[in-house]
């Protein structure tokens, strides 16, 4: 069954891509202002400042799911779940990346605070989640190790 699903999705890939593009267009027109200084900043402190999240409060209501050791630094699966009421946005910062701010996801009122994405990481680093809820900022982090690997065992 899984094989079938995979084949089906491969076949429909072109159609799906087209659909996604038009969907994104709609999204763009609704999106908040592009955080130019944030996405262009080269250190975490500045990226956080651009989000107005320099003094974010650590929260146990934010769960980051990411591997302890990345299988492939070029695409590290990261999932952030916020159980904080009225979550408005989730940003993900990779502390040691050349451009630490990787993404900001805005949520429409009442949406579940959940994002799943893949990030590129060049070296071992903290992955930091910033959650905006009711105008306040909250944070959590998890270290993901990036190794050249080998040496079997």
């Amino acid at each position: 069954m899984h094989h079938l699903r995979r084949t089906f999705l491969k076949l429909s890939g072109a159609i799906a891509a087209g659909a996604a593009a038009s969907f994104l267009k709609v999204g763009n027109s609704l999106a908040a202002t592009w955080n130019k200084s944030g996405f262009e900043s080269k250190v975490t402190v500045e990226a956080l400042k651009s989000l107005s999240a320099s003094a974010a409060t650590p929260s146990r209501e934010i769960a980051i799911s990411a591997p302890d050791i990345a299988e492939n630094g070029a695409q590290v699966p990261v999932t952030v779940t916020s159980k904080i009421a009225n979550t408005e946005s989730i940003s993900i910062v990779v502390d040691k990346n050349p451009f630490p701010l990787s993404s900001t996801f805005d949520f429409a009122n009442g949406s579940e605070g959940y994002v799943s994405t893949k990030l590129k990481m060049g070296q071992t680093s903290n992955v930091i989640a910033i959650v905006k809820a009711d105008g306040k900022f909250f944070t959590a982090s998890k270290e993901v190790k990036v190794t050249i690997g080998g040496c079997g065992g």
Binding site: H2, R5, R6, S65, P67, D68, I69, A70, E71, N72, P77, T124, E143, K145, T147, I148, G149, G150, C151, G152, G153
Partner: protein
């Protein structure tokens, strides 16, 4: 012959022992008369467990490490105890069979006295014996069975699958199996193994949709008692070994999924929940402290023959953590006492498989003979003889690895050579002839190419730090792979207790400091990169051995250690 081989060898062992310091007193734990006396079960279930046999169908020698350092809260805790420290921690008397099985102490003499260990024909006899006394006992294979010998490589694991079926393995999980490639593993699991051996892994999913690749767990009835067994494959397979062998699968420890699986098994009525794990001892200890509802983790990967389980507390009770050595040297027998549908007690016995004490099982002897027959000439090619003991296991180097380094250096003319810190591989006694089969027992992998590259001093430092962190990170979930990479030509200082990126210092080549921006000619093998070409390492080593014929005991190139004096993980 009037006297059986067994009686003969037993007599020989006793008479030899009396002439050596290794006296076997009749009442010690290592007394041969009691070594396989496993007692009565009572009301409960039995699980037999072996792991990391690395395709060693024949009896062999395996010298336990003299260096197995534990860092942070792992310091001084099993499995990070070696030699006399290990013996005293578990109440094993020096000079006994058991002491020999568990340590490197007086290794050569003890090996001559007590003989080779393991071998599937001998293991088969022991398994049958246990099954007679413990009807219904399950036999679990913790993985790393289909790799480590020439025949396993040449038959793509088919020889080991046949042998495991005849042995009566019920359930297995994997690690090096995956280096045969995803397609081959699936072919065997869905084909030959189907309905015979259950291949379990709760922690392997497809990287696109996260669908399970293998059955995560099974419920089996032992004497009418439902027992759940969950499989845990090596979580860092695509990192420690080439990812291109399993490009569409993702691994990891998967704690949350594991806890859900345990809960599911409990809900469905399991009286006991067992995790058949290839995590390695330190990961298993941490895992046991964080999850609830697992009665025992039967572990492997790190090749630690831990005589008794580590009892780990967690928020709802305790979990036993075991590790059963490697190379077919041990068969673990875990009796779980059951009352009120729960585990109420246990007895664990890690039985050493002494080939001299167990008659080989005739059917298994025939199978192994048939498996080897087409390759016998190639396997038995005599390459050289070594005057010294050749072994691999240990955190930093072993004499067989030194031999590989020496061979690489001589054949490739590189100034610095690297060889991976694998934990598998057999031991050869002094003056034992080195055959091609013995070379393959150290090198038989599906990515054997040797490479010569120009590496900067900075890159070499980065590589050493990276491998060192994979071995000594104070968080076991951030450790992966094997022992420290072995190096030839290069001298360095290592402080395992320091933080990531700061453990390696004082790197020298022939008395001169290594310069960060200078490039050096470096040879190595077992690259995890795809499409690497170069002669296979076994050809390089064989060429070196044929040319040298008689080898002096290799001189170990070891790093200077700091920060670990007094650590009971070093002799």
């Amino acid at each position: 012959m009037a006297i059986s081989r067994r009686e003969f060898l037993h007599t020989l062992a006793v008479s030899v022992a009396s002439g050596f310091p290794l006296t076997t007193s009749a009442n010690t734990l290592g007394n041969t008369d009691h070594i396989y006396d496993i007692g009565q079960l009572g009301n409960g279930v039995t699980l037999m467990h072996f792991t990391d046999v690395h395709a060693q169908l024949m009896p062999n020698y395996f010298r336990e490490p003299d260096t197995n350092l534990g860092i942070g809260n792992m310091a001084g805790r099993p499995p990070h105890l070696v030699g006399a420290k290990l013996l005293s921690a578990f109440g094993i008397k020096t000079g006994t069979r058991l002491a020999h099985a568990h340590t490197h102490l007086d290794y050569e003499q003890a090996a001559f006295t007590f003989g080779a260990m393991g071998g599937f024909a001998h293991l088969a006899t022991l398994v049958k014996y246990i099954r007679e006394q413990r009807p219904g006992a399950l036999l679990l294979d913790g993985g790393d069975s289909w790799q480590g010998s020439a025949t396993a490589l040449w038959t793509k694991g088919a020889d080991m699958v046949q042998a495991a079926q005849l042995l009566g393995v019920d359930i297995m999980t994997g690690h090096w199996e995956f280096t045969l490639g995803a397609a081959r593993v699936k072919e065997l699991v869905d084909g030959t193994l189907r309905g015979k051996i259950e291949f379990l892994a709760q922690n392997i999913k497809t990287s696109d949709f996260g669908d399970p690749v293998f059955t995560p767990w099974v419920m089996r009835e032992i004497r009418g008692i439902p027992v759940a067994v969950i499989g845990q494959a090596y979580p860092y397979t695509p990192i420690a070994n080439p990812r291109h062998f399993v490009p569409d699968w993702t691994f990891g420890i998967q704690e949350e999924n594991l806890q859900n699986t345990v809960n599911d098994a409990r809900r469905k009525g399991a009286n006991a929940v067992i995790l058949l794990s290839h995590n390695g001892a330190d990961i298993d200890v941490k895992l046991a402290s964080r999850l609830t509802g697992i009665d025992a983790i039967l572990g492997g990967h790190t090749h630690d023959a831990i005589p008794q389980p580590i009892v780990v507390r967690n928020s709802s009770g305790t979990t036993l953590v075991t590790n059963a050595g490697c190379n077919g040297k041990f068969l673990a027998v875990l009796d779980l006492h059951i009352s009120n549908s729960r585990v109420s007690g246990y007895r664990y016995q890690l039985l050493p498989v002494f080939a001299n004490l167990l008659e080989p099982d005739p059917e298994m002897v025939r199978l192994i003979r048939d498996i080897r027959a087409p390759y016998e000439t190639r396997l038995s090619e005599k390459l050289a003889v070594s005057e010294g003991l050749l072994y691999r296991r240990g955190n930093f180097n072993g004499t067989f690895d030194q031999l590989i380094l020496d061979a690489l250096m001589e054949v490739t003319d590189a100034e610095i050579v690297f060889s991976p810190g694998f934990r598998w591989g057999t031991t050869l006694l002094p003056n034992q002839i080195i055959t091609f089969e013995d070379v393959m027992a150290q090198t038989a992998i599906t990515y054997p190419s040797t490479t010569v590259t120009n590496l900067s001093g900075e890159s070499m430092k980065m590589i050493l730090e990276d491998v060192c962190d994979n071995l000594f990170n104070p968080d076991p979930y951030r450790q992966q792979g094997g022992d420290m990479v072995r190096v030839g030509g290069l001298q360095y200082t290592c402080d395992p207790t320091r933080r990531t990126g700061h453990r390696i210092s004082n790197m020298y080549l022939r008395g001169k400091p290594i310069l960060a921006d200078k490039r050096y000619k470096v040879a190595g093998w077992a690259s995890v990169t795809e499409n690497v070409s170069g002669p296979p390492i076994w050809d390089v080593v064989s060429e070196y051995l044929r040319a040298n014929k008689v080898l002096r005991s290799p001189k170990l190139n070891l790093p200077k250690l700091s920060g670990v004096s007094g650590n009971p993980g070093i002799n």
